[in-house]
Amino acid sequence: MTVAYQIFGKTVQPHVLAIATLATVIGGITVPKFIPSSAPTSAPAETKAPQAAANEEIDVEKAIKLKVYKIFVIAIGDLHIPERAIDLPHKFKKLLTGSSATNKIQQVLCTGNVTTSQSSLDFLKSISSDFHLVKGECDQDTNLPLSLILKSGDLKIGILNGFNVLPQNDPISLLSQARLMDIDILIWGGTSKVEAYTLDGKFFINPGSATGAFSTNLPDKEDLEIIDSILKEKINNDNPEDDTKKTNSEEEEQQQQQQPKDEDKEKNTEETDGIKESNANDQEDESQINEEPKLDNEKNGEQLQEEKSVEDGEVQNEINCSNIEPYVDPVPSFCLLDVQGYICTLYIYTHIEGEVKVDKVTYTKSEDS
């Protein structure tokens, strides 16, 4: 067994090192304009230079050509409306429907799981008439293709929903799928988790879920850690004597601070719940109860009482999930591909705490492949 591990470790490490999971990259730059201003044309010329140094004229021509064939492609999917989400974040909608977007986006590639909502399908089609959709696991339309291959610039792009590549989300199975389809870029979905990496000269993009739809797949470890830290902090807050600050990283503390309102709110409800609870128990704090004549609190109280009678544990009465609510679901995201000849610049749009953040990754098709 151990031998296998070692062998495995040696062999696979090169791939693994190449993997850059971007889902957790939170610190991005916020770009006010949706479509990035036209990239310098020198970039393709540079990469071409060593190849054909003797014939510069052709290079220039190519560069001009490349500029002409600059193509913006949107990769989006896993909306799961209405089953798991109500709608796209408002800011995404604005980005995708603004005039700068509709004029420049030539193509929309959708990774599926959208067809139960006619309205969202119409929305996606409205972004560009050149709209391609593959069948997702939850799509009911059997006429949809399971995968598609399209040519964009000098790159071949394949698109599919993740459920038909097994084992799901495995870089090596995805790689062999890309080899089968003979493509340079593979866009897949189905996981609600945004990812982008290069492996063996091919580019792999998962645009994630544009609505941040819940997924039955296991949650990310990073998300679990954040939630754990929140839970820990809550316990600390509940026991003020336990003054020793726990090992929360600074980042998580910041996130905590960014939602003071939520916290306050939830504290309030927590308190009132607590009061109701004591009321049900021993009727001690009557004066406080009178200060809370609100109907809904009372209802809660009743509800809680009922539960209490069912079980003897006290834990349920204090349950309050609003703290972790923002981290339960995946981060809403989609991708914009800027294809110029052999180069694809990928812009990953994520919606974190009400703000749209953009990360940029560039992929260049290697010459020999």
Binding site: I7, V12, D87, E137, T142, F214, P219, C321, S322, V328
Partner: protein, 903 residues
């Protein structure tokens, strides 16, 4: 003089009128020029008397009664400019010409119209001079104006008086001297003028031929602003408080309005009163005003007046709220007194009660009031109540209670209930029904209005509109529904959209037909069962076609979205809320196919949330019980959905619902595994297998379903470790399904993909070395090999060589996957063998195509095309193989194990 004979005015044509107007304009312009020449200051001999003479001449043009009010107004404008020049001159040179004398002098003008215009001109200049006997001048002018009794001429003359005196009326509360006059005099002056103007205006209606009645109405409407200007002026006076207004101004004005018995005057002037006087005045005089309106001409539309008034009051409250905020920020101490005063007024007066009583009186007085008017008034009342008493639902209940009563009366009165009349009623009640949805700041307050639901109950169309609006409002305003009670009430309101029975009467009829047939078949034995079946089919198809139209789909999608707004911070309570919601949704019949998936997904998310909160402790019985209830809830929901599928498949090949149910079961199984409830997970997997066996017929769907099963089973790590027997059962079954697929290609792929179920490793980060290590979860290399062997056999059995070749290459890639992942059973020897097999295949294939090539000349065209197609597939398969070999070569550089692969 002959021009002025009243008889001639009747028979004049518009062309003649235009000509007269043209002439008059020419005369006036010329005369004004002449007048200005005499008044020119640079001209040393300014002769005022000559100037006045010319002024008198152009003023004489205003004596005509041949023009329409509009045309007359054109003349008036010119004249006004001319007289303005004169008055400026008089004001500048008043020391040379004693104004008192001049005032006397102009009275000698021959005709009354020029005389009075000149008098007003001089008089108003006189008023502007310090120490002038303002009071007397005012009195004199207003008295003299009585001299003109022709409506149009009189109205314009008095309008001239208003305009001229606009800034000269005394505004001091107490008079400085005996002659200077005070505020009270000004008020008296304006009111008198108003009364006189109104009389003239009303008289216009009764002049001329009765056949010109409509023309008169139009003319009067053109002139109404002249009369209204008095009220505007009155409202602009400072230092009048609401008490004075209530005691001295309004009663006189209202008296004049009620006494004139004229519809146009009453409607217009009451409207002006509401518009021009300040908000708090309106509030203070509400009673007086409302009472006065009860004595109006019966033809007056009280609805219009009342709605204007209510809108004004509603606007007041809203403006005040805005002011409150901004003023509080600026100066608190300054406004405290005033604010308290205002608050007192609004608090003391039971505004709603007053208006309500008034409406009751109104209805008593006019029992024949039009239903449309009544519903509009009630609509305005809801607005009033919501604005002033946002938390007083009794008012609203009262309104809707009354509306129900009216409805009933209406129905009994109109015993012939044609479709159109009921539509009309709907249109009338619609506003009233939607009013609280639009106006309530918190939509959930709607649920506290007692008679609201009852009010909607009798009218289906209304219910539908209301339901749609409610949903839209929830979606727009992000309204969270947090209590069981609210859910009950909310879903009652939405019941029209939820339930299917209202949709079409056809299905009801055919179901009745079906029942009849059913009875028959019971009577006559089994012969009729066929017809029974067809009857039930027609029912199902009716229902089905009705629920798949676009409108319903969108409605149901929105309804499903509403479920996301059911929220409580405690997932257990949240679940209770969902259970309540489901009890309503379940009435939807076929429509549950739109809503249940969402319901199930939300429940799954709740379970995930509990897991994340670390609240799922399987050792605690109570917690376990609760979690199990949730899964039971999901299970029963899926079953309900699945039963639906059996109904639908009677008529169409639509198996959507079965795949949907299968997927829902798989998702639930996955989540149950995540929280460690292996038995439940197993149960849900079995359920999805049952659905697969029973009702997935389409071969494409079968293949895709198997892929989903493999995908989900592959991730169920708890199931593997905790109950391996169950897991083995499930995966063997899945592989078996795969091998039984219709198409060879599907079979082959499903089997080699199923091999992954016996080889599951998890990537874990080693804490110490920070290296990725793989933790085996299931390692059964032998079974993997068996699967691959089986898929090879299937691939080999394909008749089409190119297809076999492609499948071989795919299996080779699969082998490489296992090789990389360290599966010892997949040896280099095995891989080498496979490569050799493929190469041999290619060789033999090439040979055969070469043979074909030699025969090409003799073959017909069709064969040629087939060959080309084969070539394509073969080509792509070969390319895929080449790419795979290239990949192996590349791997040799980084992984020495690959060195042993030779070909």
């Amino acid at each position: 003089m002959s021009v002025r004979s009243s008889s001639s005015s009747v028979n004049i044509s518009p062309e003649e009128q235009a000509k007269i107007l043209e002439n008059s304009i020419a005369v006036i312009k010329q005369q004004i020029l002449l007048m200005r020449k005499f008044l020119d200051v640079t001209n040393k001999k300014t002769r005022l008397m000559d100037a006045l003479k010319h002024a008198s001449t152009f003023l004489s043009e205003l004596r005509t009664n041949l023009l329409t009010p509009k045309q007359y107004y054109e003349l008036y404008i010119l004249v006004f400019d001319g007289l303005n020049y004169l008055s400026v001159y008089l004001k500048e040179n008043h020391l040379n010409n004693h104004l008192a004398n001049l005032y006397e002098l102009v009275q000698y003008a021959g005709n009354i119209v020029p005389r009075l215009y000149l008098m007003i001109t001089v008089g108003t200049v006189y008023m502007s001079i310090p120490d002038a006997p303002i009071k007397e001048i005012m009195k004199d002018m207003i008295d003299m104006c009585r001299g003109v009794q022709h409506p149009i001429r009189g109205l314009f003359l008095r309008y001239y008086l208003t305009q001229r005196t606009k800034d000269l009326l005394p505004v001091k509360v107490t008079a400085i001297s005996e002659h200077s006059g005070k505020l009270e005099d000004s008020i008296q002056f304006i009111i008198t003028n108003f009364i006189e103007m109104n009389k003239l205006w009303v008289r216009l209606q009764h002049q001329g031929h009765s056949s010109e009645r409509n023309k008169r109405i139009k003319e009067r409407q053109e002139l109404q602003i002249l009369v209204g200007s008095n009220l505007v002026r009155l409202s602009q006076l400072d230092h009048i408080d609401s008490l004075y207004y209530k005691d001295h101004i309004l009663p006189t004005v209202l008296e004049q309005i009620t006494q004139c018995r004229d519809v146009i005057a009453q409607e217009y002037l009451l409207d002006v009163i509401i518009q021009v006087f300040p908000d708090d005045f309106q509030l203070a005089t509400l009673d007086d005003f409302l009472n006065a309106t009860l004595n109006l001409n019966p033809e007056v539309s009280l609805k219009k007046i009342l709605i204007t008034l209510i809108n004004r009051l509603v606007g007041y409250k809203k403006r005040e709220e805005i002011d409150d905020v901004s003023e509080k920020l600026k100066t608190i101490q300054l406004n405290t007194d005033e604010e308290r005063g205002v608050d007192d007024i609004t608090n003391d007066i039971d505004l709603f009660g007053k208006v309500w009583n008034y409406v009751q009186k109104l209805i008593e007085q006019k029992p024949s009031i039009h239903l449309e008017d009544l519903s509009t008034i009630l609509d305005a009342l809801t607005k009033l109540s919501i604005t002033y008493y946002p938390s007083n639902y009794e008012n609203l209940s009262q309104i809707y209670g009354y509306a129900i009563e009216v409805q009933k009366n209406f129905e009994t009165n109109n015993s012939i209930k044609s479709k159109e009349s009921s539509e009309l009623v709907n249109a009338n009640w619609r506003l009233l029904a939607l009013s609280p949805i639009y106006n309530l700041s918190n939509l959930l307050d709607l649920l506290n209005i007692e008679h609201y639901y009852e009010f909607l109950e009798s009218q289906h169309n209304l219910k539908k509109i209301v339901a749609i609006e409610i949903i839209e409002k929830i979606l727009k305003n992000d309204v969270k529904i947090t209590e069981i009670n609210s859910i009950h009430k909310m879903f009652q309101l939405l019941s029209f959209i939820i339930e299917s029975k209202h949709d079409d009467n056809n299905s009801g009829k055919s179901s009745a037909a079906m029942k009849r047939k059913l009875n028959k078949s019971l009577l006559f034995g089994n012969d009729e069962t066929d017809s029974l079946k067809s009857a039930s089919i027609s029912v199902a198809s009716d229902n089905h076609s009705s629920i798949d139209n676009i409108e319903t789909v969108i409605q149901q999608e929105n309804l499903a979205k509403i479920l996301h707004f059911i929220y409580n911070v405690n997932p257990f309570i949240n679940f209770e809320l969902l259970v309540t919601a489901k009890s309503y949704l379940s009435k939807g019949g076929l429509k549950i196919k739109f809503t249940y998936p969402t319901l199930i997904n939300i429940t799954l998310r709740l379970i995930r949330k509990l897991k994340l909160m670390k609240l799922i402790d399987l050792k605690k019985n109570d917690v376990l019980l609760k979690i199990k209830t949730m899964f039971k809830f999901i299970s029963s929901s899926v079953n309900e959905l699945y039963e639906l599928h059996q109904q639908i498949t009677l008529t169409s090949i639509n198996t959507n619902i079965s795949t949907l149910c299968l997927n829902l079961n798989l998702m639930t199984a996955q989540l149950a595994d995540e929280i460690g409830l292996c038995d439940i997970s197993n149960e849900f997997f079995i359920q999805s297998f049952v659905i697969y066996e029973e009702s997935i017929v389409d071969s494409r769907l079968q293949y895709q379903s198997i892929l989903s099963m493999i995908g989900k089973l592959h991730q169920c790590h708890n199931l593997i470790t905790i109950s391996p027997e169950n897991y083995d059962n499930l995966i063997t079954k899945t592989a078996l399904y795969g091998s039984k697929l219709l198409k060879k290609t599907d079979q082959c792929r499903a089997v080699y993909l199923a091999s992954h179920l016996w080889w599951i490793v998890e990537e874990n980060q080693d804490n110490e070395s920070e290296e990725e290590i793989l933790q085996p979860i299931k390692k059964d290399g032998k079974r993997v090999l068996e699967c691959l062997q089986k898929s090879l056999r299937i691939a080999d059995s394909c008749l089409d060589n190119s297809v076999s070749l492609e499948l071989f290459t795919e299996i080779l890639n699969r082998c490489l996957y296992y090789f990389i992942h360290g599966n010892e059973v997949i040896t280099t020897k095995y891989i080498n063998g496979l490569i050799e097999l493929i190469q041999n295949n290619i060789k033999s294939f090439e040979n055969s195509t070469n043979e074909n090539g030699t025969n090409k000349s003799t073959g017909n065209d069709n064969e040629d095309e087939n060959d080309e197609d084969d070539d394509d597939i073969e080509d792509s398969a070969k390319k895929h193989f080449k790419r795979t070999l290239k990949y192996i070569d590349e791997q040799k550089k980084i992984d020495e194990r690959f060195q042993e692969i030779v070909y």
